[in-house]
């Protein structure tokens, strides 16, 4: 019941998001068809604006976008409209082609971040105050302090250009996925390690752990049976927005490795004033974020028995 209500709540949220996105992108100076050279006559410019209904008042444009005014399609039927920049494609085509690539990369980076971040975090928590903790903390800090715009070229230089171990760019074969996965995942693995460390060391000092110890429960049973499931909660709540972020692509990583994902379109659509594309991608991002947050809340109730939804 709770989740049904949550699902229904997402619809008005998405509608509001689409409206805000729609208005904001149009409030920016410059339009999709401004370029170095203007069309030879004002009439051509007028034709161009008329074709995409940019000459109408904004509320009419929005109703048209929703599909409540003129023509077929519209947002309520799931049609995100034609791209104003990539004029042979509509936004749905582009998302269909490029989102899976970004999602693949995102899932792999997510797994990479989890597989490296959680063990490192646990290790730091178990060695709290020792040199291992400090070293781990330093590594974690380094991983999220160096932006991927720096890490990526350095890795390409060493691994691909100097050592010829992996391809310099492009997408398709498993070997081409390794570097982008690492670069994209590295930042988050540091964050996860820190969250995990905080979560676990707090839990290990809580009263129920002391009670368990007093009852003579073995250290490993305390750790894995009792502490871990609570300690991982901060990581779980962080992983919702994190996954939404990773799934919708990264401009920097996709750009540097020339990966045909959606991240490049996301950023470029704003520079191109590709109104429909920006709003369409914002909606996809918002929808993913809402869904994943719902899953996070669901997993809370599984991990922490004290949490119940009604």
């Amino acid at each position: 019941m709770y989740f049904l209500r949550r699902t229904l709540q997402t619809l008005p949220v998405l509608l509001i998001v689409s409206f805000i996105g729609f208005v904001l992108i149009r409030a920016m100076p410059g339009g999709p068809f401004d370029s170095e050279r203007k069309p030879a006559s004002e009439d051509i410019e007028r034709n161009l604006r008329a074709k995409f209904h940019l000459d109408e008042p904004i509320w009419k444009q929005y109703l048209r976008y929703l599909g409540l005014r003129g023509g077929s399609g519209g947002l309520i039927k799931g049609d995100l409209g034609p791209s104003l920049k990539y004029r042979n494609h509509n936004v749905n085509d582009i998302i269909k082609q490029c989102l899976p690539v970004s999602m693949t990369l995102g899932v792999m980076s997510f797994c990479f971040a989890m597989f490296t971040g959680i063990p490192l975090g646990c290790y730091m928590a178990l060695r709290r105050g020792e040199w291992g903790d400090h070293l781990g903390g330093f590594i974690a800090m380094l991983s999220f302090c160096i932006p991927n715009i720096v890490v990526a070229p350095l890795l390409i230089l060493w691994v691909s250009v100097k050592l010829h171990l992996l391809p310099v760019a492009l997408w398709g074969s498993p070997s081409q996925m390794i570097l982008p996965t690492i670069v994209l995942g590295l930042y988050f693995s540091g964050r996860i390690a820190r969250l995990m460390r905080e979560g676990l060391s707090t839990t290990l000092h809580s009263e129920f752990v002391t009670t368990a110890r007093a009852k003579g429960v073995s250290e490993s049973a305390i750790l894995w049976k009792h502490a871990f499931r609570l300690a991982i909660l901060p990581v779980v709540s962080y992983s919702g927005p994190l996954l939404a972020d990773l799934l919708t692509g990264s401009f920097v990583v996709e750009n540097i490795f020339q990966i045909p994902g959606i991240g490049v379109f996301f950023i470029n659509s704003i520079f191109n004033r590709d109104h429909t594309m920006t709003v369409g991608l914002v909606l996809v991002y918002a929808a993913l974020l809402l869904i994943l947050n719902m899953f996070v809340d669901l997993s809370y109730s599984l991990l922490d028995r004290r949490v119940r939804y009604e």
Partner: protein, 570 residues
């Protein structure tokens, strides 16, 4: 070792998880491996004969809509016009039309189409296709930004604006299936060149009417040019395949060509150096900071082409309404310093607007570097030593090279004239709008020629041209350009156009040229042949050949039966 031990300890721990935790622990690796293999297995496609790093992802490959040069290079491979470009000189040579006659007054062109010209799907290409393609460009519903390229045809402009509804009134007349008569507004010496321009290329009517804006995704897609479109994967690859039905198929030098879209100069250069691409030819994808080193390499090729970097003055604003001020500013620009210190790709300082190298036209001289005269002119205008000169802004598009130029200009003007200039860097769309709306004082500008004729530069400063945006309107200039274009004698025409350009860059100076662009492209000369350097910076794909590619040819033939499967869109 301790770290490793803890990691192992952790994973052995996960095995003892309770039910729900085990799901979390197992889902992750499964997801990871699944995504890794799913994508890894889908690609096993044939190798191309030629891989070209072309530029950013094309906005469109529709000839009527394309505006970016990099995109038009792919379009030219797919669709051909009545004429096409000579790979060596980029002059117009017969394309779909095998010959044409021009009436003595230069107004009527009669084109004779090849009877062996067919679509890649086998149907003949006739005059009806040409007329359809041109009217489509003019149709307001198509909203073609380059429709102006057809305004030289009688009544074309009125039809495009909607003033004229009857398409039959437009000056294109079908005599028979292979003979087309075109009536122009006035003599247009470069009309044959225009016919080779991508906007005028011939496109398939039935497919367009069936599929609308997404017609390029149709399978099969009938093309009129030397190649067909195999697939177009966004941001990944565009693959074209030799059109064996093309009238000139015997001279197409390669079978499969891949165009890689790239947004990052570093990645593009890495791919090229790693031999994942044979040619790198987009100026924006060549890191100008590294040109000192890259320029020395034998695979770096530089040449002149029709492109001018210049500066617009907003002559409606004080103090730029005074021609002496404009001249003073123009004369204090040390253009040599800019090309040697900043752009560094072999650009040449420009003192005139129409680039050098056209066989039919030589520009008159403009102003060079002369700070002493400049100081005098500024004093005459009432700003001796820069006193009382208002602070003004130099508008340019965000970018490294342009920023460096702005800083350099600022220093030159301050040191020589004692005037203060503010740097106004704007994001590209803001820059364009500000320029178009005349919301600037002095603005960075550039222009690339569309065809090999001075008119492609000079007509933009006619009073009613949409691209003028300087506020400068000079009837004498308009008259000279018009009169020049009416001349049938090239010598006489040159005289008129020279007088017009003198007004533009010497007498009135609403603009001042800074430098001429130089073309740069990278390819390994021991591997590639058939690329020629010409003023339009056009290198038709069909003439480019990879040396010693015999082995690949046989591979290509062997693989062709399996290709159809992998060519389907993802």
């Amino acid at each position: 070792m301790k770290v490793l031990a803890s990691v192992l300890e952790f994973f052995s721990g996960t095995l003892r998880f309770e039910k729900e935790q085990r799901t979390l622990g197992t889902i992750l690796p499964v997801l990871f491996l699944a995504s890794f293999f799913l994508t890894g297995c889908s690609h096993s496609e044939q190798k191309a004969d030629l891989v070209i790093i072309n530029g950013a992802e094309p906005g469109t490959l529709d000839p009527a809509l394309v505006t970016v040069q990099a995109d038009s290079r792919i379009v030219r491979a797919l669709f051909e016009g009545l004429t096409r470009l000579d790979p060596k000189t980029a002059n117009a040579i017969p394309g779909l039309a095998e010959r044409w006659e021009i009436s003595p007054d230069g107004i009527i062109y009669t084109f004779h189409l090849r009877t062996n010209a067919v679509w890649s799907t086998g149907e003949p290409i006739t005059t009806a296709d040409v007329v359809y393609s041109w009217l489509r460009v003019l149709d307001p519903m198509t909203a073609s930004e380059y429709a102006g390229q057809l305004f030289f045809i009688k009544n074309a402009e009125d039809f495009s604006s909607g003033k004229l509804k009857d398409a039959a009134q437009v000056g294109v007349k079908i005599i028979d299936a292979y003979t087309l008569q075109v009536e122009l507004v006035s003599p247009t010496p470069f009309f044959a060149d225009l016919c080779a321009f991508q906007t005028l290329a011939v496109v398939p009517r039935k497919t367009i009417e069936k599929y609308g804006d997404r017609w390029l995704m149709a399978k099969p897609l009938p093309t009129s040019g030397p190649y067909t479109l195999d697939f177009w994967h966004l941001l990944d690859k565009i693959r074209v395949r030799k059109n064996s039905l093309h009238w000139d198929a015997a001279n197409i030098q390669n079978n499969l060509v891949d165009f890689l879209p790239s947004e990052s100069a570093m990645t593009a250069m890495n791919l090229y150096d790693a031999k994942q691409a044979d040619i790198l030819w987009d100026k924006n994808l060549i890191p100008s900071d590294l040109m000192d080193v890259l320029g020395q390499r034998p695979d770096c090729h530089r040449y002149n082409y029709l492109g001018t970097f210049f500066m617009r003055f907003n002559i409606l604003k004080k103090p730029f309404d005074d021609v002496r001020v404009r001249k003073a500013l123009a004369m204090t620009i040390d253009r040599k310093r800019i090309v040697e210190r900043i752009t560094r790709s072999g650009e040449e300082p420009a003192t005139h607007f129409v680039p050098r190298g056209m066989s039919i036209y030589t520009s008159p001289p403009g102003y060079g570097y002369d700070p002493e005269t400049a100081k005098k002119l500024l004093a005459e205008a009432g700003y001796a030593g820069g006193k009382n000169f208002p602070t003004f802004q130099y508008l340019f598009k965000a970018g490294e090279t342009d920023k460096k130029i702005a800083v350099e200009l600022q220093a030159m003007w301050r040191e020589q004239l004692g005037i203060a200039m503010e740097i106004r860097q704007a994001e590209s769309k803001v820059y364009y709008t500000s320029l178009h709306d005349m919301d600037y004082d002095v603005g960075r500008s550039s222009w690339i020629g569309d065809y090999n004729d001075p008119n492609t530069f000079l007509d933009m400063f006619m009073s009613n041209n949409g691209n003028n945006y300087t506020g400068w309107k000079n009837q004498k200039y308009d008259e000279l350009v018009r009169e020049g274009n009416r001349q049938l004698d090239p010598k006489k025409r040159e005289k008129f156009l020279q007088q017009a350009e003198t007004l533009l860059i010497h007498d009135d100076l609403p603009i001042t040229p800074i430098y001429f662009y130089s073309g740069v492209l990278f390819y390994r000369p021991d591997e590639i042949e058939g690329i020629y350097f010409n003023l339009l910076d056009e290198h038709p794909i069909f003439s480019i050949k990879k040396k010693n590619s015999n082995r690949r040819d046989t591979e290509a033939q062997r693989g062709s039966s399996t290709l159809r499967v992998s060519a389907s869109p993802r």
